[in-house]
Structures are given as structure tokens and as C-alpha cells.
Point group: C2
Chain length 191, copies 2
DNA sequence: GTAGGAGTTGAACAAGCGTTCAAGACCCTG
DNA sequence: CAGGGTCTTGAACGCTTGTTCAACTCCTAC
């Protein structure tokens, strides 16, 4: 065994797949291109990922993990700051890059075309929604669980819109105003 | 010449491409599948559309036309009703179908992967934004042009979010609340 | 040192792809 | 009916794709 190198090669292959998907869409992700981009031989891609479908699934799970981290609270902060940070992080420089957004878009499109991918994506969406609802509940203890989920759903709509619209090159100012809108929804007084 | 039938076949081919794109993504759109779906021979697809790329471009333009109609005012209505209708139409039954949304998503993904497609898409986006800004200006004559464009941009963020989130199966109620949010933005008092 | 497993390679295969094209079908005009 | 354009067909081509596999290298355990 050589765990260091094994992980290195395998994750380089996954990273190559993610890069290609982000840059050229699913048509640009073929086993040969992935191997070239990762600097390995063609056969090695099929060695670590049984299928092309397996490789794409792995990529999907990777992105979904990243998304979930957005609503993972920092326990050192008070609840309302945890929520505020989570809402602002979506427009942070590490997420609002063309590469990352493009990747998300292609994975959504993929999930729409393939039922297997759709299940993974739907589960991740549900976890994200639940995570956000929990953050809202912690910051607003007077809200009911149902009200928290409603607000989380409304916020997700705006966030998805920010992501998508950022790709189309809408100005930063509009993104900032949308962030403020999500905070408004999150911290509004109970109705 | 047989213009009726020619148009019939040609548009059936385009429709077949749109259907396949919506259902299976770009990987599902190949000349043979398009021909089969349209009920014509393989060669006819290349007869009407020189290239696969030409076919996809035609599909892109078709969708962009539909989008533009969303902000085309009905001259019989007063300005504020024109705006309100435009904002509500995006959640109407003819637009909020899985088929249409899925198609949009795939076309966005396509535009992200190919520069030529991106140009068409960006131009259509700009026209839509401008159309929406004009509607807002007509309904709120006291607003400056810049303020109208800002509001249009903010509304587009929420609308894009609604479209995308509807695909992930978020509940109708959240969509309705988001519609209300776009109306709030559109009709807010001047700041 | 050597047997054996894990990692790695690229040639080979079958299937699918976009595109071309010679041939035919169809329909109007003279 | 003969001519000629437009429309329509499907076989054929060369290329790319996903997948398989025999061979090879490398490292470790005994």
C-alpha cells in the first residue's frame, strides 16, 4: 500500500474531472481528457472509478459536501452571527468564482438529465435546507420549526438566483443587495 | 416549393431537439436521436441545420424569444398592471413546467461551456433586463433610469432563483412568496 | 531475493458520433 | 410528358468515445 500516493492520484483524477466539467461542460468530460488533465494514463481512470458514471457521481458528492459546509456553524460564534456568516459566505470570494458557479450549474443540469444524479442532488439540497433552517431557529428561538423552514426555502430561492445570475455577469452591487435581502428574511420579526 | 410542409418538418426538427435537450441534456441531443424524435431521416436534420452547432444555436434563440415575451407589455393595460402581469407570468403554468425550466437550465449550462452560445445568451439576458427596467419605469415614472435597472437586476436574481429552485422541487408556497417579493421590489417607494 | 499484491500503462475493441453524398421522391411549370 | 428545382432518404466514411485487458513497474512481507 502507498496511501499517500494513491490518494494523490485518485484525487487528482477527481479534480481533473471537476475542472473539465467546470470549463467545458459534460461534453468536455471524457475519460481520455480526464486522464490527460490529471497527467495519468487512460486505464487508471477506470481503475479508480469503475465507470464514467461513478466518476461523475463522485464529483457530484464532492460539490454537495462543499455546499453543506456553507451552513455548518462555527461553534465559537453566537447563534445570530453563525447565521449571518452563513448567509454572507455564499457571496464570499471562494464561492462566487466563475469556476465554482459553472461547476454547480453543470452538475444541476446533469442531475436534471439523469435520475440517479438527481437523487444525490435532491438529498444534498434537503440537507442544506435543513441546515439553514436550524441556523435560523438557533438565531430566532421564538420561531416555530415550520416558520424556520419557510424562511430557509425563501432564502435558498434568492441564493440560487444569486449564484445563477452571477454567472450571467450581473453587477456585484446587485449581489450585495440580494445578500442583504436574505438577511432581512432570516432576521425578520415573527409574523 | 411547399412552404407549409417545409416549415412543418423544420420546426418539428427544432422541437425534437428542444424536447431531447429538456429530457436528457446535451448528451441526449445527437443527430440520430433528433431525427428519430422528429420522425424524419437522419440526413434531413443536416439539410435544414448545417451543423449540430447551428441546430443548438437555433434552439437557444428560440428559448430567448420566449423569455423576451415575458416582458413584452400588453398595451391594453395600465402600466402598473403591465408590470404586475409580467412579474406573475414567470410563475404561470406555461413557464413553470419541468420541461421548460429544465430546458433553460441545459441551455444555460451550454452557454457556460461554449463562448458562441454565451454571446447569444448574454444578449438575450440584457434585452430581458432592459425590458423589465422599462416596465418598471413606466409603472413608476418618478424613478430614475438607473434605479429602474437596479430594481430589474434585483428582480431577475429572485426570478432566476425561482426557476432554478422550482426544478429542485421546492414547494409552490415558497414560489408564491418569492413572486410577492419581486412585486415588493418593483413597487417600493422611491428611496 | 523473491513471491505477490497494488498501482499503472497504452493498445485494442465495439459502439456511437457528426457529416457527406449519391440516389430517389415529390411537385410545380412549360 | 419531360424537365428541374426542392425535399427526403439511408448507407457510408472517418473519428471519438467508454471499457477491457494483458503486460509492466513498484513496493512490501517473509
Amino acid at each position: 500500500m502507498n496511501p499517500g500516493k494513491q490518494l494523490d492520484r485518485q484525487s487528482r483524477i477527481l479534480q481533473a474531472a471537476l475542472d473539465l466539467l467546470s470549463r467545458h461542460g459534460i461534453s468536455g468530460v471524457n475519460m481520455r481528457a480526464v486522464a490527460r488533465e490529471a497527467g495519468v494514463a487512460l486505464g487508471l481512470v477506470n481503475y479508480y472509478y469503475e465507470d464514467k458514471s461513478t466518476l461523475i457521481r463522485a464529483a457530484l458528492r464532492r460539490i454537495d459536501e462543499d455546499d453543506l459546509m456553507l451552513v455548518t456553524p462555527d461553534p465559537a460564534l453566537p447563534p445570530d452571527e453563525q447565521l449571518r456568516q452563513a448567509l454572507r459566505r455564499v457571496a464570499g470570494p471562494e464561492y462566487l468564482t466563475t469556476q465554482y458557479l459553472s461547476l454547480r450549474l453543470h452538475l444541476w443540469a446533469l442531475a436534471q438529465a439523469d435520475e440517479g444524479f438527481a437523487l444525490i442532488n435532491a438529498a444534498a439540497f434537503e440537507r442544506y435546507l435543513q441546515g439553514l433552517a436550524t441556523l435560523i431557529g438557533n438565531a430566532n428561538p421564538e420561531l416555530s420549526g415550520e416558520e424556520c423552514r419557510q424562511r430557509a426555502a425563501d432564502i435558498v430561492v434568492v441564493q440560487n438566483g444569486m449564484w445563477l445570475t452571477a454567472l450571467l455577469g450581473v453587477d456585484r452591487a446587485s449581489i450585495q443587495r440580494s445578500i442583504a435581502r436574505t438577511e432581512q428574511i432570516a432576521f425578520a420579526a415573527a409574523s
